[in-house]
């Protein structure tokens, strides 16, 4: 029994109730977190699974071929309708089709249904009838084998070929092989093959650039931009924050002014991030960037070099945003170091600088890393200020490439958070964007997690090395 005996029944109830309340709130938080992660994981990762393709015959005699996505109740009437992803935007004018379940006569899952990813029209779903290549004609299994083999070759070595395809309701089209990027027959696949395809598609999502106005393809530039921006931000914010904290805690006279500065710094952490964005735009981009342009890049004017949003300004803005976090965490770490340590160093003949660098700072390193962890977590998820100071919907060039000086601080970059926003609200194909939004959100969470874990392990390692907790 953790609680003591009380004569009054109410207080006994209370002593039973309050641990229960505390436990319940923890459980609720965990539940919400688990729900969030499960939702992101299933909706995001499920998108890449090669789902079965159905061929539904309606009472009207019409057929619908596609991948069932979800079902919702019909508006205004009883019954349920099902959303099919049908592809074939070139034939039907839309890639999605709602079908009421009551209208469906039979549903089949034939093995010969295929799915092609192609440009410019997006996915095709239907059947492959034949392939014609350099006077030869392949049909059925031979055609499948031909296409599958051709797609394993690099672009330049692929044979010239025309695919003859049949969509639902007997529409036939001819598709040149050169436009095809993916050939899939999910219904004919074994479970193991599906897993392989699934992981391949996830890898493509992670490693490729976006296509079709961010509603297709991968997010590699956004991952790269996010991580690079966060690293740059940490590199800028850490020395500034640590030096400021040392000054406030170790050097400055502890008087009313110091307290005022401290309160100010703490309150800066609560300023809405968009305000920092406005500041960054006004001071960094137009002010400093504009001046740099007029001094060093006069030839390029009026088109701006540094006078427009870019990686450097975004990193600086976020560094400013996270500065209070680093200062507060470092200061708390410094304050936790017993004065006996400082006196011990000084009593051995250390100057104040030697005391700081040899005893105080090593002891405060875990606290500084905590500050950086918090800063990274905040910066990686920040979108609003970035929209003003350098993030782009589609950056034509990566901020790092083989061209001197390799790291291009003035370039615009892509960011997962903004990519998410853009995919969700600015795409034309809303249905196609939904799973990508979930996948991107999951990825963003994972990246923040990885960045944090790295810093946490580093901190743990430093503590272990010293054999202490502080």
């Amino acid at each position: 029994m953790r609680w003591s005996f009380r004569p009054s029944r109410i207080s006994a109830m209370g002593s039973l109730l309050w641990p229960w309340l505390c436990a319940a709130s923890v459980a609720l938080s965990l539940l919400m977190l688990a729900t969030l992660l499960t939702l992101l994981a299933t909706r995001g990762l499920g998108h890449f699974w090669p789902a079965a393709l159905e061929e539904a015959t309606l009472h009207s005699g019409e057929t619908v071929i596609g991948q069932p996505v979800r079902e919702t109740p019909l508006p205004n009437t009883a019954g349920i309708e099902r959303l099919y992803f049908t592809g074939n935007r070139d034939i039907d004018g839309a890639s999605w089709r709602w079908v009421a379940l009551d209208d469906i006569d039979t549903v089949a899952v034939p093995d010969d249904l295929i799915r092609l990813e192609r440009s410019p029209w997006g996915d095709f779903i239907g059947r492959l009838e034949a392939v014609e290549s350099e006077g030869q004609r392949f049909e059925d299994a031979a055609a499948w084998a031909f296409v599958a083999r051709a797609l394993t070759l690099p672009d330049s070595q692929r044979p010239n070929a025309q695919l003859q395809l049949t969509a639902a309701n007997g529409h036939t089209i001819t598709q040149p092989l050169s436009g095809v990027t993916l050939f899939q027959a999910p219904n004919a696949m074994s479970w193991g093959q599906k897993v392989v395809v699934w992981s391949e598609r996830i890898w493509q999502f992670l490693s490729e650039g976006p296509r079709a106005a961010n509603t297709g393809g991968g997010v590699w530039p956004a991952i790269f931009g996010t991580v690079l921006m966060v690293i740059l931000m940490s590199v800028i914010v850490t020395p500034f924050g640590v030096l400021a904290a040392i000054y406030l805690n170790e050097i400055a006279h502890q008087n009313r002014l110091t307290r005022l500065v401290r309160i100010g710094v703490r309150n800066l952490a609560g300023v809405p991030s968009i305000v920092y964005g406005v500041f960054g735009l006004g001071v960094f981009v137009y002010g400093i960037g504009g001046s740099i342009d007029s001094w060093f890049f006069e030839d390029a004017l009026p088109s701006p070099t540094f006078g427009t949003g870019g990686l450097l300004w975004a990193s600086l803005t976020l560094a400013l945003l996270t500065l209070p976090v680093v200062i507060v965490a470092t200061e708390e770490g410094l304050a936790r170091i017993p004065d006996a340590q400082r006196e011990g160093a000084v009593a051995l003949g250390a100057t104040r600088l030697e005391m700081l660098t040899r005893v105080v700072l090593p002891m405060a390193t875990p606290a500084m890393l905590t500050g950086v962890i918090l800063a990274v977590a905040r910066a990686a998820g920040e979108v609003a200020p970035l929209m003003l100071v350098g993030v782009a919907k589609l950056a034509p060039q990566m901020p790092v490439d083989g061209e001197f000086p390799y790291l291009h601080l003035e370039r615009k970059f892509m960011h997962l958070g903004y990519h998410l926003f853009d995919t969700a609200f600015h795409g034309e194909d809303v249905q196609a964007a939904i799973p990508l939004v979930f996948a991107t959100a999951l990825l963003l969470v994972l990246i923040v997690l990885v960045l944090n874990l790295t810093a946490i392990f580093l901190r743990h390692y430093l503590r272990r090395q010293r054999g202490n907790e502080c």
Binding site: Q341, R342, E343, L348, G349, R466
Partner: protein
């Protein structure tokens, strides 16, 4: 026993040693924290190669005096002082006095062991590294000597590169003493060095203090009357920032000149 001269036994004693035997000489020293007087016109001499104990009730200023000898009060801006403290005829507050050099010559050990969060070896090497570069052989020798002097070598020689924070409290305190000895100070100030330790560790520290006086001058602040009686050669009794009585320990404990001293020593504090 060294020759002691006392001008007027009834008044606050002005105790002097001859220049050959005097290590620290404190002359009408006055110190205040933010205007609040902590030490009042203190005058006493500390003899070389002897253990001098400062005793007195809490807040009597004995620790303050100890810290003043090391100029640790420099870290606190609210402290003001006047009067003189001389170390081997040099005024420690003189402008030409190098504070870090003073602190090397006057080592200090605090109440709670404060080893740095580094290895045992690095703790002892800390002061040496501040002095500048030494060949590794020489440094190793000094470290072994310091740890041996602090009666710790046998216990830690196999784990010199482990964290100092893994040592027991008593070992940590001896490590701190070794760390101080490594820079070869003339004076060692001990501020209640055993008050946070168990009886056995305390005895070890006391034995160490007795052994060390052949090498240097020790000043000990303690709350423990028995400890002062056991280890010190001279005892100064302070009360409310003033020196009440100062003399050979035997005399102070067995035959104090003043009633106030006797009351305190016998535990009849008013």
């Amino acid at each position: 026993m060294l020759a002691l001269s006392s001008a007027n036994p009834a008044q606050a004693p002005v105790t002097r040693f001859s220049a050959e035997t005097c290590c620290l000489s404190i002359n009408q020293f006055h110190l205040a924290y933010a205007g609040k007087t902590a030490l009042r016109d203190l005058t006493l001499d500390v003899p070389r190669h002897r253990v001098t104990a400062f005793i007195g009730p809490s807040g009597c200023g004995k620790s303050t005096l100890l810290r003043a000898i090391n100029r640790l009060h420099d870290l606190n801006e609210s402290v003001t002082h006047h009067g003189q403290i001389q170390l081997e005829d040099q005024d420690i507050h003189a402008p030409q006095m190098n504070v870090t050099e003073l602190r090397r010559r006057v080592g200090m050990v605090f109440q709670t062991p404060n080893p740095f969060p580094m290895s045992i070896y690095e703790n002892v090497a800390f002061g040496l590294r501040l002095q500048g570069r030494l060949p590794k052989r020489k440094r190793d020798d000094i470290i072994e000597w310091a740890l041996t002097s602090a009666a710790l070598w046998d216990e830690v020689k196999d784990r010199l590169h482990r964290s100092a924070w893994q040592l027991s409290g008593g070992q940590q305190q001896r490590l701190v003493i070794a760390r101080t000895l490594a820079v070869q100070p003339d004076v060692l100030l001990l501020d209640e060095p055993a008050s946070a330790l168990d009886p056995i560790s305390t005895l070890k520290i006391e034995e160490l203090i007795r052994n060390l006086k052949s090498q240097l001058t020790l000043v000990l602040v303690t709350h423990n009357m028995q400890q002062a009686a056991r280890v010190s050669d001279y005892t100064a009794f302070l009360q409310q920032g003033e020196l009440v009585e100062y003399g050979p320990t035997d005399q102070v404990f067995t035959n104090p000149r003043l009633q106030r001293t006797e009351n305190y020593i016998t535990g009849r504090m008013t």
